[in-house]
Amino acid sequence: MSYLSLSDQDKKEMLAAVGIRSTEELFGCVPKTVRLKKDLDLPAPLAEMDLVRAVEEMAGRNACSHYLSFLGGGAYDHFIPAVVDSLSSRAEFVSPYTPYQPEVSQGTLQIIFEFQTLVCQLTGLDIANDSLYEGATGAAEAVLMAHRLTNRPKVLVARTLHPQYREVIRTYIKNLGVEAIDVPYGQDGRVDPAALAALLDDPVGGVVFQSPNYFGVIEDVKALSEAAHGRKALSVAVTAEALSLGLLEAPGKLGADIVTGEGQSFGLPLSFGGAYLGFMACRKEYVRQLPGRITGQTTDVEGRRGYVLTLATREQHIRREKATSNICSNEALCALRATIFLESLGKDGLRQMAWQNAQKAAYALDVLTAVPGVRRKFAGPVFNEFVLEFPKPWTKLDAALRDKGILGGLGLEGAFDGLKNCALVSVTELKRKEDIDRLARTLKEALS
């Protein structure tokens, strides 16, 4: 298949205009010694119909779509209203680039301005950026930002932060002389306040925690923020499940200075982990250290309201090595999907969806812990996922559930010491009562 648009005649005329006989001559500047002397070793081209078949076959080898899934852990299966797919697939949104020319990009710019407003409303903070890559790099950018703001070389990172986020933070800070120190969790699955207090004896730039945390447990954002502020450290709240912001108090209102996280729950398909949507908001006094693009309101020469990219002096294309971040392109189309999602659901719909998640998770906890031998691991309050402890190794139970067409959860044994026979179970609005009952029934059979 080809997407070229020149006819043979066009090509001939253009070669003549350039003053050459063949396209070969265009590459005279490439040393002959390194020029490819044969065709690339790639499969033969496919016509559109054959391409569709080939990719459908590969998609068919993903058996996971036939399972009833209770997987979460940083990616959540939520309902996506048709309006999100329909509107976001318009070519006017899909095929432009960054709105460098605001006069012909007001659609993207106004939507991003709305996105920034929504993020501020949800996080309870003053300023939000246009987006970041995804949750883990968002957390890493927040750590670097806290470091720049406080000039302190250490940050405290909750052990209950998503393990992949912790790993990305470590990758990012390794070469910058910043040290991340683990904060352990207590019996209830939340950050251990005594351990945190002890670790705060040394000056640190920030306290980074996730709520709901990796175990699904809702952290005490207010207490953690107060502890951080008591030592003049920044409170950095991360969320991997943005839908929780529809029900839980905005972290900014509970003292968080920087809120960042993963917005996949807002209208983005699971898609094996990407493309997803990092978001970040902060208090207004920190805006000059905020990474990423920012859109602002202004007026045109006729006094009409319009939007432009602004505060670019933080960014790499102006500041080069002194920029707040090296980020250039972000996740604009994912932010657009989130904007459509949130505006369609609206005030009431978002709260309803979040409330249904919490209710269904609570129901699931009740019926699953009613299965003999199954125990809730952490007593702390949860949003839409939770850790269960089983009387048998999870790998065995998991296999038994899979035999019955169920992905019952995510085993935690490898990632955490002390969580032997434990799994993380996620329940979203998409799980019907009968689905949850089926999981409980199948689990009971597997254990008996």
């Binding site: 990758t171 094996f272 949850i436």
Partner: protein, 485 residues
């Protein structure tokens, strides 16, 4: 006269109680006092309350305020704004792919792992590298990953070194990425052809330099003809060569970075391999390395064993993860589809036609617009406003006037070594008719600059908004809608 309709912000549209009916009633017993003791939020003040028809119209109207590739030429230099095939959009959304969970067991996502592996293999062949990671989410993210790999490898040898050399023509992400990797940046001057000056390179390339970051073709659209010598100089002092593959579009099937001394590189899938730019992302920036550096790639890596695919996490020398899960998978699918459609000949035609189109534009505008560097152009050509400055017209005025003619302006913000730059990249998918339209518009504008410069300085004239006050936007930032009390 009827007043023109201005699209309000969604927050100005709604009314209490309006909503879209999306959720069914709760089907489990409701616990009214659930989460008692946890801080719950009240009403979100000002949050949208609109009907679905209103949402549909809001976004459709806003979409019409955007220019896009499907409307016409989008010659934004360095950004490679080519056509995005529709079938790739459809395929990336197949339920079996879009619905797959990143934490699903490997044996249930064999199709996904095969897609990752096939793209890695294809990129290795096209770039002449030995291994690729698909984790980086964008070009700049790839740069950072690549520089981390270089640092880890050098540290392993005993000394990560202090400096990274970057030509003065480089994109701003290069120095920024090197900096986040803990390196200090030293700039290398370009010679009169716009290429790396070998004498300055030889002088700066010491045992304290970790790497050279080179973009090839560079941001002037000029192929670094001395690239093999450049690599020799860097390697002779124990350094490594990083290639920014932002302009790989000019090289596919013609020459492979791995064959000209490059040790590490990234490729922007959203440029060379046609995945849509989405108004500023998501992109994808896979990083390729030579065999000696493969151990340092971010973990996990996809491995194939007898037709079964798995993720290998046991990579002791890995720099670690740079992103959660498996990269921008939905973008990765589209890029693989593009390569599968084109095959070897089609991949070569990417470069042939991109370079032909750029040279055609260059030839037709040369003499009318100033060309600071005369070296041969690859996939883009960089003019400047030098001739038009005589009439008080800048590259910005030319750009804004182009909008009146229905074409997106070229890149103007860099390369920094060309003042008043107009960096034009047509890509391979354009028709002669659209190229000619652009050329005619540019020629007309050059005439207008002489005869009626005010027409350019007040442009654009036909857009939804006209020139916007960017200074005011930065001076008194309004970064969100706020409810008026």
């Amino acid at each position: 006269m009827i007043k023109e309709i201005r699209e309000p912000l969604i927050f100005e549209l709604g009314a209490p109680g309006k909503k879209a009916d999306i959720l069914p009633a709760l089907d489990v017993p409701e616990k009214k006092d659930l989460l008692r003791g946890v801080a719950l939020r009240g009403d979100i003040d000002g949050f949208p309350e609109v009907s679905e028809p209103e949402v549909a119209r809001h976004f459709t109207r806003l979409s019409q305020k955007n220019y896009c590739v499907d409307l016409g030429l989008y010659p934004l230099g360095s950004c490679t704004m080519k056509y995005n095939p529709k079938v790739n959009e459809r395929l990336s959304g197949l339920p079996g792919l879009a619905g797959s969970h990143p934490n699903a067991p490997e044996e249930l996502v064999q199709g996904n792992l095969e897609i990752l592996r096939r793209l890695e293999t294809s990129l290795c062949e096209i770039a002449g590298m030995d291994a690729f990671t698909l984790q980086p989410a964008a070009g700049a993210h790839g740069e950072l990953t690549g520089m981390m790999i270089i640092r880890a490898a050098l540290a392993d040898r005993g000394d990560p070194r202090k400096y990274v050399l970057i030509p003065d023509s480089a994109h701003g992400t290069n120095p920024s990425s090197a900096h986040i990797c803990g390196y200090a940046v030293k700039e290398i001057k370009s010679n009169e052809d716009g290429m790396i000056d070998l004498a300055s390179l030889e002088q700066e390339m010491t045992g304290e330099v970790a790497a050279l970051m080179v973009t090839n073709p560079n941001t002037l659209g000029v192929f670094e003809s001395d690239i093999c010598r450049v690599a020799e100089i860097v390697h002779a002092k124990g350094g490594l060569v990083y290639m920014d593959g932002a302009n790989m579009n000019a090289l596919t099937g013609i020459v492979r970075p791995g064959d000209m001394g490059v040790d590490v590189m990234h490729i922007n899938l959203h440029k060379t391999f046609s995945t849509p730019h989405g108004g500023g992302g998501p992109g994808s920036g896979p990083v390729g390395v030579k065999k000696a550096l493969a151990a340092y790639l971010p973990a996990p890596v996809v491995v194939e064993n007898g037709g079964r695919f798995a993720l290998d996490h046991d990579r002791p020398k890995s720099i670690g993860r740079v992103r959660s899960f498996n990269g921008n998978f939905s973008i990765i699918i589209r890029a693989l589809c593009y390569i599968m459609s084109l095959g070897p000949k089609g991949v070569r035609e990417i470069a042939e036609y991109a370079v032909l189109n750029a040279n055609y534009i260059r030839k037709r505008l040369e003499g009318v617009y100033h060309l600071k560097y005369g070296a041969a152009s690859m996939h883009e050509c960089v003019f400047s406003d030098k001739f038009q400055k005589d009439f008080g017209v800048t590259n910005l005025d030319i750009a804004k006037r182009l909008i009146d003619y229905g074409v997106h302006p070229p890149t103007m913000s860099f390369p920094l070594i060309v003042h008043g730059a107009l960096m034009i990249e047509p890509t391979e998918t354009e028709s002669k008719r659209d190229l000619d339209h652009f050329v005619e518009a540019m020629l007309t504008i050059a005439r207008e600059a002489k005869e009626n410069p005010d027409l350019l300085k007040s442009a654009p004239h036909v857009t939804y908004v006209r020139r916007l006050d960017e200074v005011a936007a930065a001076k008194t930032p309004i970064l969100k809608w706020e409810k008026k009390n």
